[in-house]
Symmetry: C2
Subunit: 251 residues, 2 copies
């Protein structure tokens, strides 16, 4: 059983592309948000209930739209819809827009895949570096297919999650296995006045790449390679453990 | 300048406790959600504008409530309210409830602190292992104070973020510097029927601790120590880079 989700919503062209690829490998279940949920990160819905509705969008593929976040979709799939059933793989995406570098933290697509990985399920998040709704997913599908086949065949051994980013365009040179680049958003807020006369702020910004290593996902993408970053969920900064030992003597 | 935020909302007793402690070290700015935002993880608001409203809640302390997520609060503080001003420290919390182990991923309190750390700002997220609104923060304040003093004095060198969890009760034995424990949520969804006759699912669950190391945050808390986990944002699973090199030859 392959679980498919995303954060752009169940009718996004990117998830359609991923369903077409993944359903070639066996039975699939689609559980995806009923509306776009970009930037939802690892948010879960705890203060209100969520709903699931079975939809017939993809030629007989079992699919549910969910009123919750991408992470909610994975929790509901695992604990309600597929209770006690083995999930061989979770795939998330194909995201409309890059999730390289620190964008793994903001991305609902990557957080959904990470949630499955927390449950011990091999998981892959796919993103195409093209934000447009009518992006061309044909080459992305080809790469998604070979990577899914590889993971189903060899499994993932030293991690449970891959962050796969695919450059836009037709000139892809191959696949690079990379580390997450350092980078940050240079934020601007567009300020305006709403119809009631109140000031508002609307987030916008530009991603700045601060890492000049040639072993990063951003470097791979800039050189027209598909980037594959094996990813985890242990955020401990191990090199800092020693220097902070001083704190044990504070009180 | 010390920036203060949280995810339980600007009127939560936990942030009041943190304001009382942090304002003893110099000028502070409070920017916190106008409503509870637990479980929002690293969510940001991109599809609609957010608002800031200056509030007079804490005896002349400059404070704004924000209609966005905890991470939005930090972005607005840095880019709008404190534009070009140096932020010496960001403190988030004191959270009502533990954020140990993988809960760093789900927690808006920790994600807000992590967002500041992405900007190079030394940041500390504080949580008390007591979910109740009328939790007793007196001992938590004492530990927050010594840890803030230490970080202001020595800075953070090998990381920019501390995940500090404080056990409930009066019998605290000291501070332990730890790694993030492995663990997972055993989820259940309470199912019900809403007033319109539609089925709903409401997330609940129980945290299961799967890590029996004595160097973890959960172990420290279970033994009545305050846990301090130095934390980062590089999710690369470095041990997997080698075994995945095979993927570079797939196409």
């Amino acid at each position: 059983m392959i679980l498919i989700t995303n954060d752009d919503g169940i009718i996004a062209p990117g998830i359609k592309a991923l369903i077409e690829v993944a359903s070639g490998f066996g039975e699939v279940l689609v559980v995806a948000p009923d509306a776009p949920q970009s930037g939802q990160g690892h948010a879960i819905t705890i203060t209100r209930p969520v709903k699931l509705r079975k939809v017939d969008l993809y030629n007989g593929i079992t699919a549910y739209e969910c009123s919750g976040t991408p992470v909610d979709c994975v929790k509901l799939a695992k604990n309600v819809l597929l209770k006690n059933q083995k999930i061989d793989l979770c795939v998330s995406g194909i995201n409309h827009g890059s999730n390289a570098s620190i964008n793994i933290l903001y991305s609902g697509t990557m957080s959904a895949a990470m949630e499955a990985s927390l449950e011990g399920i091999n998981s892959i998040g796919f993103s195409l570096s093209d934000y447009s709704f009518d992006a061309d997913f044909s080459l992305a599908k080809k790469y998604a297919e070979v990577i899914i086949r590889d993971v189903l065949m060899h499994k993932l051994n030293d991690c449970r999650l891959l962050n796969v980013n695919i450059p836009a365009g037709q000139d892809i040179k191959g696949i690079k296995v990379c580390r997450q680049a350092r980078g940050r958003w240079i934020e601007e807020f567009k300020e305006g006045i709403d119809p009631r006369g109140e000031k508002y702020y609307w987030l916008t910004g530009k991603f700045e790449y601060e890492d000049h290593g040639e072993d990063t996902d951003i470097y791979a993408l800039e050189n027209n390679f598909v980037s594959v970053v094996p990813s985890g969920f242990d955020l401990t900064a191990y090199p800092a453990l020693n220097s902070l030992k001083r704190m044990e003597n504070l009180i």
